[in-house]
């Protein structure tokens, strides 16, 4: 186990506002109603071509929205420098950015952010908080402009998957803190390609639903990154006591 290491505290403090378009709005539909709606939709889909075509069209539209969000901003690099271009991408997605020796820049609930960062041509970006953003593989083109990034938080990003993790190796020299908590598409196969990030000191892999065996994965990742503190799952979680292994009561003799 790595020695306890104090976090850089570069991850943004408590974020408790709604994100508007990023969060699902409003009331929670009760379980029973949701199931009936889904069944009705499936029935209509299987019996009518127009319903199937409409659903296909809506799906394509959702996907093209994500593509639009992740379009390339690398053309901004020659005019404003790589750090501002990358920061602009993150801020447009709804994430937060911290330049070196400056405060966190974060968009408000309407998606507006202060344009002061356009002046920071030479100031590198230290930390990025891209939680709940819709970054995907193509969008990482823009994120990788930030060559001296030290802390990256990709918590609960719905489109970050194993392919995206294999793209993080250019940040190996500077990245010290990475958080992937709650990403639904990250599995142990993507975590295997984090071994390039040898300067990583803190890795958060808690609450990954796609990882098949969290305890074993934690052990293997710790072996892979010896200098890194891996936060996630308690490795003993996978061990369940069977009926014959129940803790014995104190009256029984202790074996010599």
């Amino acid at each position: 186990m790595a020695a306890p290491w104090v976090s850089l505290r570069l991850v943004a403090p408590m974020w408790n506002g709604t994100r508007g378009i990023h969060r699902l709005g409003g009331a929670v539909v009760p379980e029973g109603n949701q199931k009936k709606e889904r069944k009705m939709l499936q029935f209509l889909n299987n019996h009518f071509y127009d319903v199937e075509a409409l659903r296909g069209y809506l799906l394509q539209r959702e996907m093209s929205k994500v593509h639009l969000k992740n379009r390339s901003f690398t053309w901004l690099e020659e005019q404003h420098g790589p750090y501002s271009a990358g920061a602009f991408f993150i801020l447009k997605q709804g994430g937060a950015v911290k330049f070196r020796d400056k405060e966190w820049i974060r968009p408000d609930k309407y998606g507006h952010f202060s344009p002061e960062f356009w002046n920071f041509r030479e100031v590198p970006v230290e930390a990025v908080d891209a939680s709940d953003c819709e970054i995907n593989y193509e969008g990482l083109d823009n994120l990788l402009l930030l060559k001296e990034l030290q802390s990256l938080s990709l918590q609960r990003c719905p489109h970050v998957d194993d392919w995206c993790l294999s793209r993080l190796y250019p940040l190996a020299d500077s990245l010290q803190e990475l958080s992937l908590a709650g990403c639904p598409r990250v599995s142990e196969r993507g975590l295997a390609c984090l071994h390039h990030l040898q300067n990583l000191r803190r890795l958060d892999i808690s609450d990954l639903p796609a990882v098949s065996n969290p305890g074993l994965t934690q052990i293997l990742v710790e072996e892979m990154l010896p200098n890194c503190q891996v936060v996630g799952v308690d490795w003993a979680e996978g061990l369940k006591l069977g009926p014959e292994e129940q803790p014995q009561d104190t009256a029984s003799p202790v074996p010599a």
Binding site: D162, T217, M224
Partner: protein
């Protein structure tokens, strides 16, 4: 009142009315008559199954624009791109004929499932890059409403190729070509190798090339299933049967050099059903040979290779089945989670399988030791003598390993230059090939499928130019050699 009184006095037999007699008809066996009338009405009414015509639901349709022989990943990929790139929706009727619906001997299912861009030919690199982007966005390409998204179980761990002294120069120039085409590959010296992967023994290794992105391995069954599902939703017909005959019509034409050439065109395909003599003649316009290891038989049916040797008519399709073994072993002290697919200088390769210290790998035998491809029996002595020593030399931890299981599969091996055959045949004008990839068909299937579809629909390759892979090269003797075959 009267009703209550009468049964008492006069008894049942006289006054009880039977329902039928109320209408005035006088009949003793009314129930029988009713059922007879019902039967007659049923047989006249439409919509009842009529026993006169036999059931033909297992036979393929009588007409189809395109017939694809072979339902493996290449055949399905061609079908997918044909339907995707057609100009009008429903414009092309495609039929996929597969001999074995369990895919028990098909190369796709038995494959190790790797994808890498470390080739020497630019075309191979581009095909692999396109396939990587296809697999990455597979849920956009193969989206079917109501079906759950596909999980390819892709491991992006990369490929590590090791080269000895004499191959180091070739590897350097290959990596240069790969970087030019856009693959993310880096060269490593033995010291860097030891630093990164301490479990490697770098004795005899002069140089290594390591793929960082878009390389790894995935589950081929998932891709096959996803393609099948999408094709069924797009309206492609599937048929289980064996192609036994092509009916061709020929035309004699004069070339510009005043030579007589016989051009053939297939207009009917006979598809024979399993375990019976029944066959269905399918009228078709285009036939695609994607039969994998058995492509040469299909080509021979069309008359390819029937002529004096040395002529274009006598040039056979040089694809034959070659058996390759894959062994799975368990080694608790073996390399960790970051292990790429390692290909040794001797040709032996291995990769991790899952989280539980299991590994799988194998080695291509030398030409003179080729096993008999008549069946898929595994030779375990081959592992003991030819594979294990090299693995144990390269990774000392593999000296104590325990083989768990093994299987064998076919390569559709191109004996001429180990690269695929794509495109039309010069003499049989409507037969297109998509076969002969000698072990890297799975990773190039999406790109090749698109190339063949473009060739059919537009007449030439539009995105990736695969002209070095045309059939003509067998007659002209121009080899498109690929140096990095495992």
């Amino acid at each position: 009142m009267i009703r209550r009184v009468l049964p008492h006095g006069l008894g049942r037999g006289l006054l009880t009315r039977r329902p039928g007699t109320r209408r005035g008809g006088f009949s003793l066996d009314w129930d029988g008559k009713v059922s007879e009338i019902k039967k007659k009405i049923k047989s006249i009414l439409p919509g009842t199954p009529c026993d006169v015509l036999p059931d033909t639901s297992h036979l393929p349709p009588e007409h189809s624009d395109v017939v694809i022989v072979g339902g493996g990943v290449l055949g399905l990929s061609v079908a997918y791109w044909l339907k995707q790139l057609e100009n009008r929706r429903g414009g092309m009727q495609v039929l996929v004929v597969e001999r074995d619906h369990t895919y028990s001997q098909a190369s796709t299912g038995l494959s190790v499932g790797g994808i890498c861009q470390q080739f020497s030919l630019p075309e191979n690199i581009q095909l692999s890059l396109f396939s990587a982007s296809f697999l990455r966005n597979i849920n956009e390409y193969l989206a079917v409403t109501n079906a759950p998204p596909l999980d390819l179980q892709f491991n992006p761990s990369g490929y590590l190729l090791l080269a000895s002294e004499k191959d180091a120069a070739a590897m350097e120039s290959n990596v240069k070509v790969q970087k030019q085409e856009g693959a993310k590959v880096c060269l490593m010296s033995p010291d860097q190798l030891r630093n990164k992967f301490p479990w490697i023994n770098t004795e005899g290794v002069a140089l290594a090339s390591y793929g960082m992105e878009n390389e790894g391995w995935f589950d081929p069954w998932c891709l096959l299933h996803g393609l099948r599902q999408k094709l069924m939703s797009m309206g492609v017909f599937f048929c289980q049967g064996e192609v036994t005959r092509f009916v061709t019509s020929s035309q004699r034409m004069m070339t510009t050099d005043d030579e007589m050439v016989t051009l053939k065109s297939i207009h009917e395909v006979h598809v024979k059903m399993d375990h019976s003599l029944e066959y269905q003649p399918v009228e078709c316009a285009i036939v695609i040979n994607a039969a994998g290891a058995w492509s040469a038989q299909i080509a021979a049916l069309a008359g390819i290779g029937k002529g004096p040797p040395g002529t274009l008519q006598g040039t056979k399709l040089p694809v034959e089945p070659r058996k390759r073994y894959v062994y799975v072993w368990h080694c608790p002290q073996g390399p960790g989670l970051e292990t790429p697919l390692v290909a040794d200088t001797s040709g032996a390769y291995f990769r991790r399988e899952g989280l539980g210290s299991n590994y799988l790998g194998g080695r291509s035998p030398a030409e003179e030791e080729e096993p008999d491809p008549a069946n898929l029996e595994v030779d375990h002595d081959f592992f003991q003598e030819k594979v294990w020593p090299h693995l144990a030399l390269r990774v000392p931890a593999f000296e104590t390993l325990k083989v768990q299981t093994a299987w064998a599969g076919y390569y559709d091996y191109n004996t001429f230059d180990q690269n695929g055959v794509v495109g039309p045949h010069p003499l049989v004008v409507n037969m297109y090939f998509a076969t002969g990839f000698s072990g890297h068909g799975l990773q190039q299937a999406p790109g090749v499928g698109r190339a063949v579809a473009e060739m059919i629909l537009e007449g030439s390759f539009q995105t990736i130019d695969l002209s070095p892979f045309l059939f003509n090269r067998f007659y002209l003797g121009e080899k498109t050699q690929e140096n990095n075959i495992m």
